[in-house]
Symmetry: C2
Subunit: 598 residues, 2 copies
């Protein structure tokens, strides 16, 4: 232990680190990390999203990237702080081509336990804002000048026809829109392709009672935060309207009522041919980069239940659920027990539909209020804002915890949750509900990152299950009959309507649909990090598969996730795309192999 | 002089002031002000916008308002500062019904030189935001609940038909929209009536090259500031799109394609009958309060020039100027020499139209960059933001200078401007242009507040005049002939098109059009403060006539001005309307008499 102040200690560490990097002394630099230290890098060194675990991995990465990165200017921002034996601080640095920010944690021996480095801008390609914003008017007089509207209309008329976009984004939900906004600010010509007639429709088209399950502080879009009066949980139509407004105000080239038919990569040209149908007319786009932002909840997973065609009533996937109004007085069976299943069951129950939930496997339930307070509150809440934790700071703090470490950080939160909501969980179990908190007790976020499913953020439906107002049947389904669902134990659940709340496939299913099965297989499964838990087979990969980073298919990128992820990771995807457009070298370190096909 | 710190001195003053007010000792309270001290109050004490000048006026006001106001809780916010013999600080206080904020300046003798008190919220009627924001979702389950969209659609269908709005705002420009947003947040049922098909059209419909003349930091709307990349000077169509988005996101009841036909007040009922035509159908609205937010630039002032009907070419007011494109190669005469005249002349010149400006009287010219730096920079600029001067703080600082004092504060700024831009002004004068800096040298803002005209913020046209590229003719017009303008000196200015950039009438012209000449005359002239300068006859009134405060016509209000004023004063107008809706007593102190008919 040293008697130096936290700030001195971080400054000392940075000075030693800087000297080692400048001397190209990779082993020495690595030795400044704890044996079990982590370095998570977004773009700055690796042109990848990559977590190096342990000194050797760090040394290997540095050996490969230092000559290109040429980092410098490591400085502490503000004061470092110390608590519980960990000293931490915000840092800034530069590379040969970019500017970075990050976060450092030192252990009691002044070794780095975690280092986060992220590149937020390319030198010479900074986003104009604040003091560098555009003037908007060209003072002085120009002959036959075009005004803003004329320039905008000319761009809209040309892009995709006489001028090719550098990027095409398939999917105009919050992911495509947020990334599109960043690319717009960076001057990367981009077209966003959206099948619906209006931006925001992917929210509007969902079931009536849907509101965001994440609170407002977690959901901000880039550049234009929600105003202070925005509700905690945005109703679906309201968030739809916000997104529609956002695309207009951010001046995105957003093609509505446009369907992507197929895409093909020309290796020689390094260019895609993307065929879309825009308002009934075929248009061929030739971007260098293709981003699939079609959403994690976009390719419905329809389970192979025998007899599905024999059913006489209505049967549809949860993504097509029209709302319960039309089924008043009837009988419904909802197969599944995650978020959508619960919301739809509650919707039925509110509309006097006799509804049964079929729970096929155990589910993690977290009460919304408890989750907000215990799991999100420190980073994304009114209190966090009051404490100076801006949205961007919160994003970086969350990112500063390597995925390997995350479960250990999360387990105590969920232990507390179990205790706090003990009565609630007891009542649910008494009603027969099969509960879990993840295989290692690490709860909701880890389940989300590993498999994107397996949980419900309770906003009321669990109480209905505990009360028996939503009937519950656990076990496997055997088949679907003319008039209902037959369970493996022989029970028949009569139904006028069956909703398959059975989740979604991997995003690379979209690559199969739009490009080819071959490319989809080459790229492999999206999402998950190889934790070796259910639906997330190993080997360990340390970052989400294929998300926001180079894939095995040149020019193909995946973007998505919840509003938080779309907001934060769009920075790094935009940096990667912009660098490529500008011809800045982007040597990718540690391109992820593909272990699973989908 | 005391040796106490600025903070101690302000705290001491506030303590003495508080004690005097609590003891109802109005003379003692007044004696805490300098002999030439000022108290400017927005709503908190006077339910009016009112500047008390000198001790007697302050004592009179207190005698009348103290029993109702019952002020308390006077506290300094942060630290006070001292510079040049003036000590100043931000203050908070309460009244019986509301919460207030303001600003205090003490002179070297610890007497108040200026006190600003403003009421920003009513107790028990605070706007829900931050920690008190709505949840957005009703957790738990309600039978047959309406979702956000259904509630919104139900409100839209009912308001104005089966349910009457409390307020109707005529005019849906930035003024009506900003006020409407505040009323929405306060739960005051309001309909905004706008003649154009889309919000923002009043900007879109103007001449092609128009951009805001005020910079972005000055132009923010309430609640939803422009993002950091917004251009300094918003192009007209871009600001139009922003306003359109804003009305939607703020969920305003905004009736487009709706024209107000007539309005009449029923004294007995205390209610208006407002007849509007909405998309071709007559609708009768019965609000308690009617706000004319029709804009200062809404009733064109068409000068009475003989022969105007004999002209064979195109002739129109500047508000109807379609843009210069259609006049390429022709001859244009623009009568007038203010902002629009200059912009339109530049537009003609850019399009190779032979254009002559007719300057009938001297004009104040301020170069945009100089104005931004010298006059606005301290309050509304990137630098001000960096210094912690938020938009709201800047608004309050500006408001803290009583109008009586403003010219003396402004004169040195314009002295500096004259010196800095001496070459520019010399060249303009050499070209024959008649320059002024206001009758007392107080420059642009004072001209704007006194008469709303008489100046041009130069963004390039002045250079064209100096160069002779825009021809200049000074003097009176005699008449309009078949083929041009005949000047009093006999000069004929041949023209294919004549633009009358001759300004606008008083806003009470709208009261005459919509209500009656009688009501318009009773209410009297809007704008100006009785400075005794050109177009602003005395007596001195100390605040803008009839703006944002009670008028001689019960239930009739005027709202408008530039984006800064619309933003800031809408707080106080909204407070007055909300208090009336809630039945909170609003005894108006010092209702302004009407001295001028229009």
């Amino acid at each position: 232990m040293t008697t130096a102040s936290p700030t001195q200690r971080v400054n000392d560490w940075l000075a030693r680190f800087d000297a080692a990097l400048k001397a190209n002394a990779v082993q020495e630099a690595a030795s400044l990390f704890a044996e079990d230290g982590y370095w998570r890098d977004f773009v700055a060194f690796t042109w990848n999203l990559k977590t190096m675990e342990g000194r050797q991995a760090i040394a290997d990465m540095l050996a490969a990237t230092l000559p290109g990165a040429r980092p410098s200017g490591w400085t502490l921002e503000g004061e470092a702080t110390e608590a519980g034996g960990i000293t931490e601080g915000w840092i800034r640095f530069e590379t040969a081509v970019g500017r970075g920010e990050g976060h450092l944690r030192l252990n009691a021996e002044d070794k780095a336990w975690t280092l986060l480095t992220t590149q937020y801008e390319l030198k010479g390609h900074e986003e104009p804002k604040g003091p560098t914003r555009e003037k908007g008017v060209q003072h002085g007089v120009q002959k036959n000048r075009q005004n803003w509207l004329e320039r905008k209309q000319a761009e809209e008329a040309a892009l995709g026809y006489t001028q090719q976009p550098y990027v095409v984004i398939i999917g105009g939900g919050q992911g495509g829109i947020g990334l599109g906004a960043r690319l717009k600010r960076l001057g990367v010509p981009t077209i966003i392709v959206e099948k619906n007639p209006r931006a925001g429709d992917s929210w509007r088209n969902r079931y009536k009672s849907l509101c965001l399950h994440d609170p407002v502080w977690y959901d901000h879009m880039p550049y234009l935060p929600f105003p202070e009066h925005w509700p905690v949980f945005s109703p679906k139509d309201k968030i739809g309207d916000w997104l529609e407004m956002y695309t207009k105000v951010m001046e995105l080239n957003y093609w509505t009522s446009t369907v992507c038919k197929r895409a093909q990569y020309d290796d020689a040209k390094g260019e895609w041919t993307v065929v879309v149908e825009r308002e009934g007319k075929e248009v061929v786009l030739r971007p260098k980069q293709l981003v699939l932002a079609t959403g994690m909840s976009a390719v419905p997973n329809i389970p192979d239940i025998p007899g599905i065609d024999s059913f006489k009533g209505d049967i549809h996937h949860s993504s097509r659920h029209p709302g319960a109004e039309r089924y008043v007085g009837k009988k419904a069976v909802v197969i599944g027990s995650n978020n959508s299943a619960h919301d739809i069951c509650a919707d039925f129950q509110e509309h006097d539909v006799d509804v049964t939930m079929v729970q096929r496997s155990s589910t993690h339930i977290a009460r919304s209020e408890t989750l907000m307070e215990l799991a999100l509150g420190g980073l994304y809440s009114e209190q966090a804002v009051a404490n100076g934790v801006t949205t961007h700071k919160a994003d970086l703090i969350f990112a500063s915890i390597p995925y390997r470490v995350l479960p250990a950080v999360q387990v105590p939160v969920y232990e507390q949750m179990k205790e706090r909501d003990k009565d609630f969980y007891d009542r649910l179990e008494k009603a027969g509900f099969m509960l879990d908190f993840g295989e290692d007790g690490s709860g909701l976020f880890c389940k989300y990152l590993r498999r994107g499913s397996g949980y419900y953020i309770d906003v009321g439906a669990s109480e209905l299950i505990a009360d028996g107002k939503i009937k519950l049947k656990t076990g496997k389904t055997a088949r679907i009959a003319e008039n209902g669902v037959v369970m493996a134990d022989g029970t028949v659940l009569p139904a006028d309507v069956i909703v398959l709340a059975t989740g979604y496939g991997s995003m690379n299913g979209w690559a199969a649909q739009l490009i080819s099965q071959e490319v989809a297989d080459k790229v492999g499964k999206c999402w998950g990090m190889g934790s070796g838990t259910t639906k997330d087979p190993g080997p360990w990969e340390g970052e989400l598969r294929n998300m926001w980073k180079p894939t095995q298919q040149p020019g193909l990128w995946f973007h998505g996730g919840n509003l938080h992820q779309s907001r934060h990771y769009s920075i790094y995807l935009a940096q990667q795309l912009k660098a490529r457009m500008e011809g800045i070298p982007t040597p990718v370190y540690g391109l992820q192999p593909s272990y699973h096909k989908g």
